[in-house]
Amino acid sequence: MSFTRRAVKVPPNSASLEEARHRVIDFFKTACRSIPSIIDIYNLDEVATVAELRSSVAAQIRKNSHITNIKVIDMLLLKGVEEFNNIVEHAKQRHHIIGQYVVGQKGLVLDSGTKDQGDSNFLKNFYNSNYF
């Protein structure tokens, strides 16, 4: 029920880039302030600290910092709010949070690292020449 009611309520578009910026920062603050309760809900205190999760949220926002189209920013913000509400309402499970926000970036780097065989030129040449 609360899901439907929330889904209907879409805020109007931001009038200016400055307003959109403000909304994003407000959202970041709300998210930061509920990190302790999120850690509590999902028992994250053994895998992450408040500061780590805060940087993780900031990194997600910074990933889209090059976007200047107001409508796109509003859309991304809406998605962020939705994700945040799902997390706070315990609609997710512990491994979702850990996979996305605790391991997050590091896991992705490891994946792509094994695929393109790291940075070692020696190994790359070796695989090119000796890998039949």
Binding site: I25, F28, C32, R33, R54, R62, S65
Partner: protein
Amino acid sequence: MALRAAILRHVRVPVKTLTLTGRKSQPWGPNGASLRFLSSHGDDHLSKDEVIERVLSVIKSFPKVDPSQVTPDVHFQKDLGLDSLDNVEIVMALEEEFKLEIPDKEADKIDSSNLAIEYIYNHPMAG
């Protein structure tokens, strides 16, 4: 009638003493020292040195900051090369450290460690 007059002549109402004792028993009066026990803050107000030390340690522990560059009057964006989101992140870290909730208007103004120290030192709830 004579009896009444005699009694009235002997009975003295100690007006002054009553008001004095009355005031003493009021803990909320201007002189009531016990008011301080009831408040959750005020007695244990942070000293300036402690505020400076804790604010700087919060900034130093921020992953993007070079700890050797942090001084009590460093500007977050000009001197440390941070962006506005990092600025908000530091303010949130300070909120967590001092158990405050800094309203948006004030939070927007805090862009250097000097201002942060000043704001937190003057905040009655900082703990």
